[in-house]
């Protein structure tokens, strides 16, 4: 089942990295794509009867998956793995082939590991978090579906399977965001997420059609080669296709102005938020950009300007929104959007490794932060930071793991520092000075709002009801486990460092069919690192100065206020209102106009055609059918009737009359034969 692509790669024709084909483990990697769906069905069938309502099935599926992912990760680290297994499902004409299967290379292996590792921890956490909740079996079923759809997406060897996984992720997220559907607001949040994504999905589907038809294949390997070799048929559509793909990625990865669905998506249970933000949902867009990276690197480089502008707007503009949010999960949601902006900008700037590295570290510490928030919410029974405060004393484990996550996110020392520094270095290397400084300011903002969230939640005095308590071990143990990669994941890719026998993240990720051509820093840029670190520390200090007093004194609202800016932020730049306004225009005047057009123009045409047809019908019936056709038949039958009334008189019933006629006939024949014919 070794395909053409892997063989070429092994011969080193295109990529200098010599990679193995992964052997049995790569050939059977498809089991990772299937197991969560098996779990989904099993939970639906037997979930209600089990002790944990099917949670154990979901955990078992991901645990098995993690074995494969870990083995593949280690194989890839120690020698590279490049393989692809596909099964043909159908073909259009003679050219376009539709295949399902799985691709195993540096990028997909990392995503396999990420989804299964973070997923497993979140699933275990959910076992405790969802205990006693409503519809737990359905929750775990949909959760498995979520993970499974994401694995189908990241394992996709072609655009079509990617779209299948992409839509599956959208569906599962819709089901889980609206999980507490008894409250109409949650249903609306689910709808908003789904519809916002759908708008963007149009871009992805159009891009897939355009590229697929242009080069005659949806296979990522074929697209990569076409981009690398400068195939003219791809070059013709590269810019438009790249823009369409980016449009699709904007929706899934919540780039400005499609970010509006992500904060609302906090309506789901907290484990859903953790999984969605770390591994399964929002990373899909970044993954698509990384998967299609050769297209942007070698051909559609003009699209990068758009990507950089939008990514930068996202990382800074949406990050600011986190400063005024009171809901702790929304603070984290806005920070996720901001970090996604970093990743998108990095990939747009050519930092394939930098963007994916930030995705990798971000997954660990953002999942950690969400699970901490879940632990806090579980204890306080409120999402709002104005109901929290002083939790440091009540929930020490949650507090310390939160601090680890917050420091990592802020880019102070821990894993987030290394990945963010790599992004800044990439920007510096590409000479994007303005973007670089905005990003550094963004780092300051990140540290500032994380300091705010930390102080308002864990310091000062408790403002909520009841007495908070530390969560049970099934919630805190996953926090501690996740804190480990949140601290150490950054060391995997320190510039110039290569671990013995394992290499580093850059080398793992470079195992692709074609070279990615992104710049690698050989040594740490101490100046840039110091500036980034300084900005982050400055943010924490200012946050401490402003919000530490707030946490002490019991205030309903933050005392710190910047005129103009903060009210604008509270209104979320009016983008939600703008989106609603567009929807309102579609629902109101536009719908009425269409209705009017329908009534007065289309109906006129339809009625006219109908009237014409009716007239023709009446003519045909009255004239042709009634007079013509019926006339013929009536005349014929009248003639037969008349003839019959004459002829029947001959049948008199007198036998001897018949005999006389018979004799007369015989005589006539005799005369005829004897005198005429002979």
């Amino acid at each position: 089942m070794l395909t053409r692509l892997a063989i070429i790669a092994q011969e080193g024709e295109h990529n200098e990295i010599l990679a193995g084909d992964g052997g049995w483990w790569a050939d059977t990697a498809g089991i990772m794509l299937i197991l969560p769906f098996v779990a989904f069905l099993l939970i639906l069938a037997f979930g209600k009867k089990l002790k944990h309502k099917g949670g154990e099935i979901a955990v078992a599926a991901l645990a098995i998956n993690l074995v494969w992912a870990t083995v593949l990760l280690l194989m890839n680290a120690s020698g590279g793995v490049l393989d692809q297994t596909t099964f043909e499902i159908g073909r259009i004409g003679s050219g376009l082939v539709f295949e399902l299967g799985w691709v195993v290379d540096g990028l997909s292996i990392l995503m396999f590991f990420l989804v299964n590792f973070v997923g497993l921890i979140v699933f275990v956490y959910a076992l405790g978090y969802m205990k006693g909740d409503v519809r737990v079996d359905w929750f775990f079923a949909a959760f498995s579906l979520f993970a499974g759809a994401m694995l189908v997406l990241v394992g996709a060897p072609n655009l079509i399977q990617l779209i299948i996984g992409w839509e599956g992720v959208g569906l599962a997220s819709y089901l889980l965001i609206g999980f507490y559907w008894e409250d109409i607001a949650n249903v609306k949040a689910g709808n908003k997420a789904f519809l916002t994504n759908k708008v963007a999905d149009v871009g992805l589907i159009l891009g897939a059609i355009l590229v697929g038809v242009s080069i005659g294949s949806w296979d990522f390997g074929a697209i990569d080669f076409a981009a690398f070799e400068g195939a003219p048929e791809l070059a013709a559509v590269a810019s438009v296709g790249g823009l369409l793909f980016f449009f699709g990625a904007m929706g899934k990865s919540a780039q400005f102005p499609f970010h509006i669905w992500l904060p609302d998506a906090m309506a789901g249970p907290t484990p859903v938020s953790a999984l969605m933000h770390a591994a399964t949902m929002v990373t899909a867009g970044i993954y698509l950009m990384a998967r299609m990276f050769p297209l942007f690197e070698y051909m559609a480089s003009n699209v990068r300007i758009v990507m950089i502008v939008i990514g930068t707007a996202t990382l800074f503009g949406v990050g600011l929104l986190a400063i005024v949010a009171d809901d702790i999960k929304k603070v984290l949601a806005y920070s996720t959007v901001s970090q996604l902006g970093y990743m998108m900008t990095a990939i747009a700037a050519g930092g394939y490794t930098a963007g994916m590295f930030h995705l990798f570290t971000h997954a660990s510490f953002k999942a950690l932060l969400f699970l901490c928030a879940g632990s806090v919410i579980h204890s306080v029974h409120s999402n709002n930071m104005s109901d929290m405060g002083g939790l440091r004393k009540f929930m020490p484990t949650t507090f310390w793991t939160w601090v680890v996550g917050a420091l990592a996110l802020s880019g102070i020392g821990l894993s987030g520092f290394w990945s963010k520094d790599e992004i800044l270095a990439t920007m510096g290397e590409r000479g994007l000075d303005i973007v670089l400084w905005i990003s550094i300011t963004g780092a300051f903002v990140t540290a500032f709002y994380m300091a705010r969230a930390t102080f308002l939640t864990f310091f000062g005095t408790y403002k909520g009801d009841g007495k908070p308590h530390e969560s049970s071990r099934i919630l805190t143990v996953p926090l501690v486990i996740l804190a480990v990669p949140a601290v150490f994941a950054g060391f995997l890719n320190i510039p110039g460092l290569s671990l013995p026998r394992l290499g580093n993240y850059t080398e793992w990720l470079a195992v692709r069919l074609v070279p990615m051509g992104d710049p690698h820093a050989e040594a740490i840029n101490f100046g840039l690192a110091a500036i980034g670190l300084g900005a982050a520390i400055l943010g924490v200090v200012i946050g401490w100065l402003i919000y530490y007093p707030d946490a002490e004194t019991q205030l309903e609202r933050d005392s710190f206020e910047i005129p103009v800016l903060f009210p604008l932020l509270r209104k979320k730049y009016y983008i939600d209102d703008l989106a609603l306004g567009i929807v309102a225009i579609i629902k109101g005047p536009l719908a009425r106009f269409v209705d009017w057009t329908n009534t007065y123009i289309l109906d006129l045409i339809v009625n006219g055609v109908a009237g014409l047809v009716k007239g023709v019908g009446v003519f045909v019936y009255d004239t042709i059918d009634q007079r013509g056709v019926d006339g013929v038949f009536n005349g014929l039958s009248a003639a037969v009737d008349g003839a019959g009334s004459v002829v029947r008189k001959w049948q008199s019933g007198r036998v001897q009359q018949y005999a006389a006629a018979f004799v007369a006939g015989a005589l006539i024949l005799v005369v005829l034969f004897v005198f005429v014919l002979i």
């Binding site: 008189k649 008199s652 019933g653 036998v655 001897q656 005999a659 006389a660």
Partner: protein, 101 residues
């Protein structure tokens, strides 16, 4: 040869038959007239066969056939006549005019 005499006899018998068929009103007599006509034909057949002898004796065989058919015809005819007479107390053909339009 005596052929002409046989033919005259046969023609006379046939003519009597036709006469009886057309004129008589009693069904039994009409049947007898039909028998006359059939036997007139039989005489003809035998007469011609006696002059132009064929190896297969076609004329005589045909005469046998005609006698057989005549016997069957008279059997069925008389049975019908008997049933009609029992039902209607009459053997007159003028009374049998049901079979018309």
């Amino acid at each position: 040869m005596l052929l002409s005499q046989f033919l005259v006899l046969a023609a006379a018998l046939f003519a009597f038959g036709i006469y009886g068929l057309l004129v008589r009103r009693n069904i039994v007599l009409i049947l007898l007239s039909v028998e006359l006509m059939l036997n007139a034909v039989n005489i003809n057949l035998i007469a011609f066969e006696s002059i132009w002898v064929s190896p297969e004796a076609i004329g005589q065989i045909f005469a046998i056939f005609v006698i057989t058919v005549a016997a069957a015809e008279v059997g069925i005819g008389l049975a019908i006549v008997l049933m009609i007479f029992r039902n209607r107390k009459s053997a007159n053909v003028d009374d049998l005019n049901l079979m018309r339009w």
